[in-house]
Amino acid sequence: MSNERALTAMIADDEAPMRDLLRARLAAVWPELRIVAEAANGVEAVALGEQHQPDIAFLDIRMPGMSGIEAARQLYRRSHIVFATAYDQYALDAFEQGALDYLLKPVSAERLATTCARLRDRLNKRLQAHTPAQPDIGQQLAKLTSLLENKGSPQPKNGYLRWIQAQVGSSLRMVSTREVLFFQSDEKYTRVQTAGAEFLIRKTLKELAEELDPDEFWRIHRSTLVRVDAIGEVTRDLRGRHMLKLRGHPFELEVSRNHTYLFQQM
């Protein structure tokens, strides 16, 4: 149709070669489409999207600064969103379910042609009907955000502490919680014991107990948190105290009376 207004588009991808490819392919299958902006990250995509208000925004999902999905949440009212992704199965399933448009990278000419034909059709109809409002995809995008953050794992990522930060000289030593055998409070510091080293941190045992994964560390004493994987055996010494031995390490920790229930079945 000759009276069609030329549609405009924006491409957002952090990898320049990917932008080049999409631009070249679009030029081939949809020469009338005007590329009005190209963004190299999510923040730029939102800024340019608001400035140029393109009809279509092609958004890569993984971008620095802000993900494509986050950017889409701010842009979808003005621009029709088409996601581009290479491998994210969770995202693809969600796109299918939510009837969102997407491109699979690397973008093949045939596939792009089909998508573009559909887009052109829909957008022109919408323009002619003077209903620029798009279907509200805000809710789907919100769902998608939480889905991708959890990477499809059944349990949401709970944000437990995974790294202990210990000041060593002027650097911050990052001790993975997987390395830690136990934490023990020691006056105003907390002692962090690994297989080969010991660190002192200012974080209190109480704070640690709240932030650590309760399945990873157990409290066995008012002043001790121990790594569950490292628990060897619990024995009673001559004074009747319960002593916990760590597997493969020469440490012995006292289990206080009100925590012995943890080992009743062991």
Partner: protein
């Protein structure tokens, strides 16, 4: 009746012979590894005991026989024993390699597909717009793949030089994708090229630096790979000036894998240290015993 008697007699002889042969070989093994000083002491004792009993000849025979065996077969037998021990050590090495292969398979299944995807997509695109660059990236990819797969079996895979070469191919590919957002610096002295270094550790650290440090940073940054010897310890360090480490981010299978393998290979003599320097970014440092490659 007679036949059974003969049979039992033969059985007895056979048993006695077997017993004697076991004893003889035990004596032989002992002779092979015993020190000359101790052997001389036994000669002295033999003469001391035998002379008062008028059995000088027995002692003399013992002296001649043991001396002869020690001289003639000792070296060979000793070598055999050493070889046996070496085989046992090799078995441990094989076990470690198998484990590593299994772990690698798991690791690769996680890392490779999208890396391959993106790289192939890039090459496909460059073929249309910049064929010489496409050829370069393609060559790097081939180099990277060739050396990732058979290196577990190849003997020279485990040198620092080889690992650095491999990392350079990987980084060249990443640079073609990230363009000016990724800078790379290598500070690895030539003489460390032959130092033994376990495969796939350097790449894991570099991948981490890019994935968690630089890719999320809008401006990108620099990955610096540094190697140096301090005393008898080889230090290999991968630093970036990216966004640093989120204390709540899972440290991932890659680092746990390195820690486990270091423990298996070097026990307490090696470690993986993760730090955030005051200037920002993150540093991962592998320390392990430094041994010069034997120039055999």
């Amino acid at each position: 009746m007679r036949a059974s008697q003969i049979n039992s007699g033969l059985d007895f002889l056979r048993d006695a012979f077997r017993e004697a042969s076991v004893l003889w070989w035990r004596f032989f093994d002992w002779l092979a590894v015993v020190e000359w000083r101790q052997l001389a002491l036994t000669w002295f004792l033999a003469f001391l005991v035998c002379i008062p009993l008028n059995l000088e000849q027995v002692a003399a025979w013992y002296f001649i026989a043991s001396f002869g065996v020690k001289v003639l077969a000792g070296g060979k037998r000793k070598a055999e024993l050493v070889a046996k021990e070496a085989t046992m050590q090799a078995n441990v090495a094989t076990l470690e390699r198998r484990l590593m292969e299994a772990q690698m398979a798991a690791l690769q299944a996680q890392v490779e597909p999208h890396f391959l995807f993106n790289t192939l997509a890039l090459i496909g695109q460059l073929i249309e717009t910049d064929p010489p660059e496409a050829a370069r990236v393609h060559a790097h990819l081939i180099e990277y793949l060739r050396s990732t797969l058979p290196q577990m079996r190849a003997r020279d895979g485990g040198t620092l030089g080889k690992q650095v070469e491999l990392s350079k191919a990987y980084l060249a590919i990443m640079q073609a994708r990230m363009k000016e957002r990724l800078n790379v610096r290598f500070e690895v002295p030539m003489f460390l090229g032959s130092a033994p270094f376990p495969p796939m550790m350097l790449q894991t650290l570099i991948e981490n630096s890019i994935k968690h440090g630089l890719e999320p940073k809008i401006a990108g940054g620099t990955v610096t790979v540094r190697a140096y010897v301090d005393g008898a310890t080889l230090h290999v360090e991968v630093c970036d000036d990216g966004v640093g480490i989120d204390p709540h981010a899972d440290d991932g299978i890659g680092l746990a894998n390195i820690r486990e393998r270091l423990q298996l290979l070097y026990g307490d003599k090696a470690e993986l240290v993760i730090q955030m320097p005051p200037s920002g970014g993150a540093c991962a440092l592998i320390k392990l015993p430094y041994k010069m490659m034997e120039t055999a």
